[in-house]
């Protein structure tokens, strides 16, 4: 979520190769998750897709569960562009557009419901997913709401649970549960509702 690139020392050749394989394995996890779902995902299929042996997986992660949790955490830590349009309404409108695009992405549209289904049975996946979602939500909204407080658009400490859920809940319901696309008018009406709820 930070916009600062992480400073890195020049890695050795072997370290580069190790990192490349880790990245290939993480990418392969997402492709396998989208194709098969968590229940049917096998470590062998992930290794095959990444062009390595099963040992390369088990050297990094003790089991399929750790492999998936690590891949999800890595994606959640990606930098999401935080809007800075100069007004709270503009920022909320932009956030909703970014979120709608992210939820429509074929990988997200398949993998998120899948992990949520698995989370209902597996407390480790549930905790990782919750933490990833909450941290992302908190990082982005603290910047957007913080600037709105500085501009005097919001009182100090604005941002109830409900205001945060309004940002994601209706859009998630429409796109992922009803599988319908929100119209531009829908997104504008939603943005106005969120800003009103934040100011209340």
């Amino acid at each position: 979520m930070t916009t600062q690139p992480r400073p890195r020392r020049a890695p050795s050749g072997a370290a580069v190769l190790r990192e490349d394989i880790t990245d290939s394995l993480r990418a392969a996890v997402f492709e396998e998750l989208a194709a098969s779902g968590y229940g049917r995902l096998s470590v062998e299929a992930v290794a095959r897709r990444a062009g390595v042996g099963k040992t390369a997986v088990y050297r990094r992660w003790p089991s399929k569960l750790e492999l998936v949790i690590d891949a999800v955490s890595a994606v959640a830590a990606l930098r999401i562009p935080v809007p800075d349009t100069g007004s709270l309404l503009g920022d909320v409108q932009t956030l909703l557009k970014i979120l709608a695009r992210a939820l429509r992405h074929p990988l997200a549209a398949q993998i998120v419901p899948d992990l949520l289904a698995e989370a209902a049975r597996n407390p480790d996946i549930a905790r990782t997913l919750e933490k990833a979602l909450r941290d992302t939500q908190r990082d982005i909204t603290s910047q957007v709401f913080g600037r709105a407080v500085e501009r005097g658009e919001l009182p100090e400490g604005a941002g109830t649970d409900l205001a945060l859920d309004l940002l994601t809940g209706p859009l998630y319901w429409r796109l992922t549960v009803l599988r319908a696309a929100p119209t531009p008018a829908y997104l504008d009406e939603l943005a106005a509702t969120i800003v009103a709820a934040l100011r209340a």
Copy 2:
């Protein structure tokens, strides 16, 4: 969704038995779905749980997919109590409480995410689920909103897509995705937001 009991002729002994087995099989589907998930659910396990042979399943449904779709449709057609408190705000508050209770039910908490995950891969499940959700939403809200229009609390034709999504989206997000319980203050704030959005 109707409150009228369906008129029925007295069935024969064999018909009663057939209906009993159908009901047992539907119940067994839900228990197996909660325990194993759609991907791992087997027709054999459903039959075993219902105390019948596999043939009894295949005589009714050609495959696991039709079996699950039928069970889901049967639940969606159940009568949900439609509140009639005398005010729009009161009805919305009651609806939110009913919905929060339904989403917290252990079977719903496991089966709904599971079917949504399967829907991302299977258009038949997706269509059945969407239809069940939309029909239920439309039946309940048309009664609640219709009475509010009669009382002069809402203009004719109120009830945009967004207003409907506000009823379910934030609560679904909080309970099923974040796995957190909404406080009474949260539910009151949400009800006020929905009524404001309906009147806008």
